[in-house]
C-alpha cells in the first residue's frame, strides 16, 4: 500500500442485473490533488462513488481511502471522507444551521467543536446571513452549497463530490468551483465527477475519462490533449447535405477525419490555417457552399470524441 495515495481503486466492478455499470476500473488519487472523473450521463460515475462511499457493495475489486479498505474497514474509511451526493440530500424543513449541525453530529462532532465548525462552514459556503432560514426555501444554488457544506464539517482528508454543479446558476457554480480549489489548497484530496469538460479542465490535477463503465483515458489535462495529437476540430456549415463532400475531404492533405450530421461537417485537421483553403477549394469544385466555419482548438471534448466517436454532452 502506498502512503501517498488518498484513494486507490483496483478492478472495481458493479452490475445491476445484466447491466454492467462499472466494468473493472482502476485509478488512484494522490493526497492533496483534485482528480476528476469526466464522463457522459450513464458512464458509471455515481455507481463508482456509491461504492467508495460504502453505499453499495462492489461485485468485485478493491478500493481504499486513506489506506482503509472500503470493504474490510468501512467505518474507518467513511470517517475520513466527506461525500457530496449528486442529488441534494438535506432536510428541507430544517434551517441551514440545523442541517449542518445534524450532519456534523453524524460525523462525530460535539459541543464547542461542532459549533465552531458549523460557523466556519457557513462562512465557507457564504450562508452565514441565511443560516436560520429553512433550506427548503433556498434557491437551487444555495441548496447545493449547503449540500457541500454538510460534507466538510469534520474536515475530512478526502472529499468526494458527485456532479455538484448540475443545474445551477453561473454565480453559484463559480462559487463552488472556487470552493473546491480552496479545499485543495487546504490539503484535502478531492474526487470530483462531472460531465462538463470545462470544469474538469479548470480544476483537475488528473482527469480520468469514463465511458460505459470503463476508464478510457487517464492523465493530466495536457497529456490527454496530446492523445488527439495536434488535431483541431473544424465545424463547417454547408448549403447542402454534407455526406456528398465527405469522401473528397477525407483525401485532402492534413485531414484526419471527416464526419457529418445535420448539415454540419466536422473535420479533424492538423493545422486549420493550411487545411481550410484546401477544403474551400474542394467544396468549390463540387459546387458546395460553406456558410459558416467554427474553429475548435483541441480540448477534452475532442479527446472524448476522438476516443469514442461521440460527443461528451447530449444537451
Amino acid at each position: 500500500m502506498n502512503d501517498d495515495l488518498a484513494i486507490e481503486v483496483k478492478e472495481l466492478r458493479k452490475s445491476f442485473g445484466s447491466l454492467q455499470a462499472v466494468r473493472g476500473i482502476s485509478f488512484q488519487a494522490a493526497k492533496g490533488e483534485i482528480l476528476s472523473l469526466l464522463g457522459p450521463n450513464g458512464a458509471g460515475k455515481s455507481t463508482t462513488i456509491s461504492m467508495l462511499a460504502g453505499l453499495i457493495a462492489p461485485d468485485g475489486g478493491q478500493a481504499s481511502i486513506m489506506g482503509h479498505s472500503i470493504t474490510s474497514q468501512p467505518h474507518q474509511a467513511r470517517a475520513c471522507v466527506g461525500v457530496v451526493p449528486q442529488d441534494i440530500a438535506l432536510y428541507p424543513d430544517l434551517s441551514a444551521r440545523e442541517n449542518l449541525s445534524f450532519w456534523g453530529k453524524m460525523y462525530g462532532l460535539r459541543g464547542a467543536m461542532l459549533k465552531s465548525r458549523v460557523e466556519e462552514v457557513l462562512q465557507v459556503i457564504g450562508l452565514t446571513e441565511r443560516q436560520h432560514d429553512r433550506v427548503g426555501a433556498f434557491s437551487g444554488g444555495m441548496k447545493r452549497r449547503v449540500n457541500i457544506g454538510a460534507a466538510l464539517l469534520h474536515t475530512p482528508a478526502v472529499i468526494i463530490m458527485d456532479e455538484p454543479t448540475v443545474g445551477i446558476d453561473p454565480q453559484s457554480r463559480r462559487y463552488i468551483l472556487d470552493n473546491v480549489k480552496e479545499l485543495m489548497r487546504q490539503g484535502m484530496t478531492v474526487l470530483y465527477t462531472t460531465h462538463y469538460m470545462e470544469e474538469a479542465a479548470e480544476l483537475s490535477d488528473h482527469i480520468a475519462i469514463m465511458d460505459q463503465g470503463q476508464i478510457i483515458a487517464y492523465g493530466t489535462h495536457d497529456e490527454l490533449i496530446r492523445l488527439v495529437g495536434e488535431q483541431t476540430r473544424l465545424d463547417l456549415g454547408l448549403s447542402v447535405e454534407a455526406e456528398g463532400i465527405l469522401p473528397a475531404w477525407q483525401e485532402v492533405e492534413g485531414v484526419f477525419q471527416a464526419t457529418a450530421s445535420d448539415g454540419i461537417a466536422t473535420v479533424l485537421v492538423d493545422d486549420s490555417n493550411r487545411v481550410l483553403p484546401r477544403l474551400f477549394e474542394s467544396a468549390g469544385k463540387a459546387g458546395v457552399r460553406i456558410n459558416s466555419v467554427d474553429i475548435h482548438e483541441p480540448n477534452l471534448e475532442s479527446v472524448f470524441l476522438h476516443l469514442t466517436g461521440k460527443a461528451l454532452r447530449d444537451d
Binding site: 471522507v81 424543513d93 430544517l94 445534524f102 450532519w103 453524524m106 460525523y107
Partner: protein
C-alpha cells in the same frame, strides 16, 4: 449519542410539520371538543342541543282483548313531550322504508319493534330483540336512542317479573286470577315507570350517562357525568390517533429514503443499526409526546379522570409499545412514501373499527367484541377502560403486559424486515 441525535432530529421535524401536529394532536381534540360543545349545552339551555331524528317501526300487533301493548309503549316513549326537545320521531311502515330513510340521511337512527313482542312477553317466552339501526357515521344520536330503548325494555322485563311474582302469590293464596286485577297491576306499574322515564330522559346527556361500562371493574364515581362520556369518546380518538402517529412517524424513513438523506446517513461513520434504532426511537418519542399532550389537555379541558397515576402510566406504556410496534410493522411492508397514505389510512381505520374505537360506549354483538381481542387497538381501549373505571392496578398491569408483548412482537418482525432492507 448518535441514536438520540437521529431520534431528536426526526421528532423535531414531526413537531414542526403542521400536518403532523394537526393529525396527531389537533384532530382528536377537535373531534372530542365538537362532541363536547354539542352535548355540554354550552350557551342557552336547550337551543343548541342537536335534534335526533328517529324512525320507528312497530311490528308488534296486539289482539284487541290484551290490555297491554308493549310495542306501543316503547314507540310512545319517543313521542313523549319530555323528550320533544331533542327527539323528533316518525313512524315508518317497515324495515325497508326505514333503512332507506337512514341511507338518505333523513333520520339518524331507527327503532324496529319486532312482531309478537307483547305476545311473547305475556306467554313468558323469550322476547325477540328490538333492533336499532343507525347511520354508521354517527355515534351520539343513535347512542341516545338506543339507551332510551334499552332502559325502557329493562323496565318492562322488570315489570314482567313483577307480574309473574304477583301471579304466583295469587295462586299460593288461592285467589282466582282475573284480567281486572292483572290490568290494575300493569296499569300501576306503567304509570310509575312512565314517570320514571320522563325523569330519566330530561336531556340526551341523561340518556348517554346510561352507557354501561363494559369492563369488569367498578364504575368510577365521577362528579361530572359528561366528563365520563367525554373520557370514553376521547379515549377512542386518542388511541386511533396514537396508532396513526406511530405509523406516520415511521413513515419518515420512507421520506428520507426518497429525499436521499437516508443514503447520506449511510455514508457517515454511523452504524446502520444506530441509524435504524434512531428512527425507531423517534417513533417512541413522538407517540409518547402525542399521548402526554392529549392526556393533559383531556384532563384540563374536558376534565377527564384518566385513572390513578400507576394505571395511567401502565396504560400509556402499553399504548406506546403497541402503537410503535404496529407502526414499524406496517411501514416495513411499504416501499414508497406514496403507498404509505392508503396503508396507514385504510389499515388503521379498519383496525380501529375492529378494535372498537369508533363504537365506544355502544353495545356491540359479541362476535365483534371478541374480535377486538386480536387487535392491539382493542386491548389499548380495554386498558383505558380499566383505568378510567378505577380498576385495580394489577388488572391494568396484565393488560399492559399483553400490549407490550404484542408491541414487541410486531416491532421485532418489522425491525427485522427493515434491517434486511437496509443492511
Amino acid at each position: 449519542m448518535k441514536i438520540l441525535d437521529i431520534a431528536l432530529n426526526d421528532f423535531t421535524r414531526s413537531v414542526r410539520s403542521l400536518f403532523a401536529i394537526g393529525m396527531m394532536v389537533v384532530a382528536p381534540l377537535v373531534i372530542t371538543g365538537l362532541i363536547y360543545v354539542a352535548f355540554s349545552g354550552a350557551g342557552s339551555e336547550n337551543s343548541d342541543l342537536p335534534i335526533i331524528q328517529v324512525g320507528i317501526v312497530n311490528l308488534d300487533q296486539v289482539p284487541a282483548d290484551v290490555p297491554v301493548a308493549l310495542g306501543k309503549t316503547l314507540a310512545d316513549m319517543y313521542f313523549d313531550e319530555s323528550v320533544a326537545g331533542y327527539i323528533q320521531p316518525k313512524i315508518y311502515p317497515g324495515e325497508a322504508s326505514v333503512r332507506s330513510a337512514i341511507n338518505n340521511q333523513e333520520i339518524q337512527a331507527a327503532v324496529i319493534i319486532p312482531a309478537g313482542m307483547t305476545a311473547a312477553l305475556m306467554a313468558n317466552q323469550s322476547v325477540p330483540p328490538v333492533r336499532i339501526l343507525q347511520d354508521p357515521t354517527l355515534t351520539i344520536g343513535p347512542m341516545v336512542v338506543k339507551n332510551m330503548a334499552q332502559s325502557l325494555l329493562d323496565g318492562i322485563y322488570g315489570g314482567s317479573i313483577a307480574v309473574q311474582v304477583h301471579r304466583q302469590r295469587f295462586a299460593v293464596h288461592g285467589i282466582a286470577e282475573n284480567s281486572i286485577n292483572l290490568q290494575s297491576i300493569i296499569h300501576d306499574y306503567e304509570g310509575w315507570f312512565t314517570a320514571f322515564q320522563r325523569e330519566l330522559f330530561h336531556s340526551p346527556q341523561a340518556a348517554l350517562v346510561l352507557v354501561t361500562p363494559q369492563s369488569a371493574g367498578e364504575e368510577a364515581p365521577s362528579a361530572d357525568p359528561m366528563a365520563g362520556i367525554l373520557g370514553q369518546i376521547m379515549t377512542g380518538q386518542m388511541i386511533f390517533f396514537a396508532f396513526f402517529t406511530g405509523a406516520y412517524s415511521m413513515q419518515s424513513i420512507l421520506k428520507e429514503q426518497e429525499e436521499g438523506t437516508l443514503a447520506r446517513l449511510f455514508t457517515t461513520p454511523t452504524p446502520r443499526l444506530t441509524i435504524l434504532g434512531g428512527k425507531f426511537l423517534a417513533v417512541v418519542f413522538t407517540v409518547c409526546g402525542q399521548g402526554l399532550v392529549l392526556l393533559l389537555v383531556g384532563r384540563l379541558l374536558f376534565k377527564v379522570q384518566w385513572g390513578t397515576p400507576t394505571s395511567v402510566l401502565l396504560t400509556m406504556l402499553g399504548q406506546v409499545a403497541s402503537a410503535t410496534g404496529l407502526g414499524v410493522l406496517l411501514i416495513s411492508f411499504v416501499k414508497h412514501e406514496r403507498q404509505a397514505g392508503p396503508v396507514i389510512g385504510g389499515g388503521l381505520t379498519a383496525l380501529g373499527m375492529l378494535g372498537g374505537l369508533f363504537t365506544v360506549g355502544m353495545q356491540m354483538p359479541e362476535a365483534f367484541t371478541r374480535l377486538a381481542n386480536f387487535i392491539p387497538q382493542g386491548w389499548v381501549l380495554h386498558a383505558w377502560r380499566l383505568s378510567l373505571n378505577g380498576a385495580p392496578s394489577a388488572e391494568v398491569f396484565t393488560t399492559c403486559l399483553i400490549l407490550v408483548g404484542m408491541g414487541a412482537t410486531m416491532f421485532a418482525i418489522g425491525g427485522l424486515r427493515f434491517n434486511r432492507r437496509f443492511a
